[in-house]
Symmetry: C4
Subunit: 211 residues, 4 copies
């Protein structure tokens, strides 16, 4: 006879969330490592205050990526409150999501290093847009998987609310892809687009609605 002990049912999301929080906290704190202390070589032709001031693109990348990761962290919690439990494939999708989250410091660093060099501006904006678009894309996939899976999503959520979120995530992805495409001809517009979308996400999320 097969006996199902209590702990077999603990398919809750607590552990997954704790692990994700860890990855978020680390990725967000690693961002500053890309801003380097000048060596004596760098200070031969410039003063220390001037050097520190000239690092503004790195500070900008730091602040912006910190906000992006902070927003993803907030929304990760927001979304996980709508899930009742998790399954194997959803866990896997979450691993891919965390992969894109911990990848972000790299495009962020490339952006911070090259955004102020005119000939690299377009490429650095494109790579950064790609870095920000990747989590949004896996996020959408996770949501589509979860929202169609009655074992994961809280079934008491109203269909209107679910459709609202689906629409929102699709539109975000379209904007990010547009930013990547636009960056070939209008990198400045790309950058503005991404910044505006991020600022929008600083607003409070829609309150979940239940039937």
């Amino acid at each position: 006879m097969i006996e199902e002990p209590k702990h077999m049912e603990e398919k809750g999301t607590a552990r997954l969330e704790a692990f994700s929080d860890g990855v978020f906290a680390i990725a967000i704190t690693l961002l500053i490592l890309e801003t380097k202390v000048p060596g004596s070589e760098e200070l031969k032709h410039t003063s220390l205050p001037q050097y520190l001031f000239d690092q503004w693109p790195k500070y900008f990348a730091f602040v912006f990526s910190f906000l992006v990761l902070g927003i993803y962290w907030t929304n990760h919690h927001y979304l996980f409150k709508l899930y009742k439990r998790t399954d194997h494939w959803f866990n896997l999708l979450n691993v891919f999501f965390l992969m894109t989250i911990s990848f972000l410091p790299f495009p962020s660093a490339v952006f911070g290093e090259y955004v102020h060099e005119p000939e690299q501006f377009a490429a650095s904006v494109r790579f950064y847009s790609l870095g920000i678009a990747l989590p949004a894309f896996v996020w959408l996939l996770s949501w589509l998987y979860a929202s169609h899976n009655k074992r994961i999503i809280d079934t008491k959520l109203s269909n209107t609310f679910i459709r609202h979120l689906t629409r929102q995530f699709i539109i975000s992805n379209i904007i990010y892809v547009s930013a990547i495409v636009l960056s070939f001809s209008y990198p400045r517009t790309s950058l503005v687009l991404i910044i505006l979308l991020t600022l929008l996400y600083l607003l409070p999320s829609k309150k979940p609605q239940y039937d």
Copy 2:
């Protein structure tokens, strides 16, 4: 009919605190990464013990920044005990606070690298003072927001106690700003000021008072 399930009310501060703890733990542990192992090049003109001894400015920066972050961590918990719950804008302020916390390793590293070079002394003290002042400033903003928001602050706290904290945080900010300004002419005084204020914060915090 809209049904509000239980989990919608969990606006507690537990998760925010756990995430903040993560960022604190990582930022504080990253501090040592700025102290570099000497290459064979560095050891051509000096012995290994001498080199390790000459790193004292980095050890000082490590110890001092560790204390500063440790104090902020302690006080973060102290303050969060006075809060009943959190809201969207308070979360956002906390993200900005964590941003200043994870920025600190950079000015700390600049300070550790240049504090012993006479011509860079003033600039490195100024940048470090700025790095320590930034969290204090966002801290004050958070406190002002929370203490005026009856949904966040524990309403049973006595007004005298709340005013006491407000005064304390404003004074700290004034001291930090003074240190930054003073560093243009009297960098040594700036440094002493910051160290004294930090040592003061090593004393136990005032016990919360309730009406």
Copy 3:
């Protein structure tokens, strides 16, 4: 008289799991640090987009190592659900397991740096295989220790199920060792072998069976 207070019995695995989760989260997030932002030197003979494209071996190593660590994390939880409690030597084995987990970023970085250089291909595959085999080996040791220890393993598990896991872990180790040996003559086959085994582990684990 010796009195045994309640907390003496808390030989549960919660803390060990939380600590392990921390190490996993950090190791997995550190992987990206191996992908470096190009300096102006590197961009003299190539454009930024070309350089970023040429980093594909590092992206591959990042994605693959992330999956490997993600799978180990998932299986760590899976296995710990089968344990009722822990003891000193099992804790020690777990410390050795975490040691191999936090070692992995190094062979992963070597692999990402040299896999595309024909004369280093075999050596980089061999070292990476070794890096992936090490946790599998300590994992097997831990399992053998735990599954033969009635104080640790959940005694209600069916013997068939326990034997199934033992067999699975032994086979994995044989495949990893084969990959290391094969890499001397057929490094390409080694790499394929490791990738296939990892993809297999992306499938859901067998449900625990109880008597």
Copy 4:
């Protein structure tokens, strides 16, 4: 009237332990960062396998420091089970303890870099011994403070057991200081001493005894 709400009493050690675990997990995982991937320069005079083999002093430093930190982590939990609550000065001592823990990766890296160079052997052993002795010293201070403080230590512990631990921690400190002093003339003996003491600590700790 002053009302003492429930949360004012939560002077438990849970949060302090969670934060300490975070610092431990990060410090232990950062150890591998000191082992560097060779550049094309390093591979001009040696093959990749030979280079990786020649890194054995770094692997040794990695494994040994990992064990040292792992042991401190285990013992931190062991000791905190003997404490009922914490106070301001004990928290502060713990911050200093964590400072020495997160400092350890630096002497470990110096040791791994220079232990195999005959003329640096003594200095690298001495600095490493110092790095390992520092946490032991703050550990002893914390214990002396806590064991004499009836508000912190579990008062039901037998005096014999408390004296046993005090003796053990004092002896460990004497051995570490001896290792540092000996390293001036007999660095090899120093190293053996430290390794033996560490291996001793791999044995299970004495079970707490209660009156």
